[in-house]
Amino acid sequence: MNRSQILLVEDNPIDKMMFERALKHVSKDVEVLHFESVQEACRYVENVGVATPRLAVLDLRLGDETGFDYLRKRNQSSRLHDVPAIILSTSDSNKDVKEAFSLGAAGYFVKPLEFKELTELIASITSYWDWSVLPGDMDS
């Protein structure tokens, strides 16, 4: 596993830019692997071999696809399954939160309005997953 990579599935360019900038504030060592579509993101993780990213951050509404589609594919593929996935979305609807967790999301976060809050959120997310032991950690 590549502990210094975070997979981001996001189709809004400004949200992507803000995510990258906020992450840079938190840590210079983490690299963002950005994909605009669920399909591309899944294909990457399936084929990258052992160097999978340590975390997948998913937007919910992605054009024709949704973050839920990623979660569904993740439930059917052992390689995708080893990468924990969290939702970072505009929606705070209870329906979406419920569905995300029922499909196995490891967390659900609503995109904040201010850059400072976004930085704080990303700081806590990265630190949580830094401390986490993940599948594949002990093999290396």
Binding site: I14, T90, S91, K111, L113, E114, F115, K116
Partner: protein, 362 residues
């Protein structure tokens, strides 16, 4: 009066006739066949108007052509009495009474016929129950679809309205952070104010969505303990330090979805906290037996007479400098109306503002 009485008593006069048993060669079997058959017809003919009358009075006051039903009842009933008299004549030859019942029957039957003729085309034009049901199903189906459309619309609108707003908020606050302390304080202040406006707009969108969904709830209705609901709504809010809150325990339960009650209390409480200008705020939640309504009462700035209707409208707000979206009371009113209830505001003799609401018809 005496004349009428005399005439009526003449109807029972049997003079000049012999009972039917003694007219001709009756076998018992033939005689009783007549009698039993006549009595059965009588009973059947009487039961029809009785049933119709019951139906008219109890069930269907909206039945079209009501007068025809009454006339028809009279017609059938008089037909029945003709048969009853026929049976009586075997023992008491009341041929005068028999003639009277036959005249009444003749008049009632012709009355019914004459009354019916002009009605028939109108009756034919009435849609049948089956057709009405189909129409109703069609309407229900359309309503359901339009509700689903609205739900999808609000969901997408919320996302598409909030995404650019968040981009503005993020970019502005990032710019301020990026330039840091070298930023002109006036520019920094302008950025802060812009971000505040973005937050307000975001709140407005959230509240509009709550308003749009107000009458709908995916949650089933249950018997809600109102004191418990009020406390649970309070636990979601930051209660100002100077506020004293009292909740009556013995309120009647309400049949409604718990989320809807929560929305009602949340909006009332937020307003009470926001619009209080006293040193010590006070809030009471309870039940008014006199009004048959729940109430939320506070010692806030009050609502002047001319504003008491207006404040429940969408985007309307009382004269105030306090920030708000103007949606709180509109959300409450929408929920309350959707369950057939009502909401209104009064001032108590002590000058406290009392919002009253009912969660059912009546």
């Amino acid at each position: 009066m005496g004349e009428i009485w005399k005439w009526i008593s003449q109807l029972w006069d049997e003079s000049g006739f012999t009972p039917r048993w003694y007219c001709g060669q009756w076998s018992e079997a033939l005689g009783y066949t007549h009698i039993v058959a006549d009595l059965m017809v009588f009973l059947a003919y009487v039961s029809i108007p009785v049933a119709l009358t019951y139906f008219m009075l109890k069930r269907r006051r909206d039945l079209p052509f009501g007068n025809l039903f009454w006339l028809f009842s009279l017609f059938i009933f008089s037909c029945g009495t003709v048969h009853l008299v026929e049976a009586i004549i075997f023992w008491h030859p009341v041929y005068r009474l028999s003639a009277f019942t036959k005249v009444v029957t003749a008049l009632a039957s012709w009355g019914t016929v004459l009354f019916m003729i002009p009605i028939i085309p109108k009756a034919l034009a009435l849609p049948g129950v089956k057709k009405l049901n189909e129409h109703l199903q069609d309407m229900t189906h359309r309503l359901k679809r339009s509700n689903e459309d609205l739900e999808a619309f609000t969901y997408i609108a919320s996302h598409d309205l909030k995404a650019p707003l968040r981009a503005i908020g993020n970019l502005l606050s990032w710019s301020k952070e990026e330039v840091g302390t070298s930023l002109d304080p006036k520019v920094a202040d302008a950025i802060d104010k812009s971000v505040d406006q973005v937050k307000r707009m975001n709140l407005l969108i959230d509240n509009l969505l709550i308003y749009a969904r107000g009458e709908k709830s995916h949650e089933p209705v249950s018997d809600v303990d109102m004191a418990h609901a009020a406390r649970s709504a309070l636990s979601m809010l930051a209660i100002p330090d100077h506020f004293h809150i009292s909740i009556q325990e013995s309120m009647p339960k309400a049949r409604i979805s718990p989320t809807q009650v929560q929305q009602i209390f949340l909006n009332f409480f937020t307003n009470a906290f926001k619009y209080n200008n006293k040193e010590a705020g006070s809030l009471v939640v309870g039940w008014s037996e006199k009004d048959r309504a729940y109430f939320v009462e506070d010692n806030g700035q009050g609502v002047p007479e001319h504003d008491r209707q207006r404040i429940f409208n969408l985007f309307e707000r009382g004269a105030t400098h306090v920030d708000g979206s103007g949606l709180g009371l509109a959300i409450i009113r929408k929920i309350v109306l959707s369950v057939g209830g009502a909401v209104w505001v009064t001032m108590t003799p002590e000058g406290r503002t009392r919002f009253l609401f009912r969660l059912s018809r009546g």
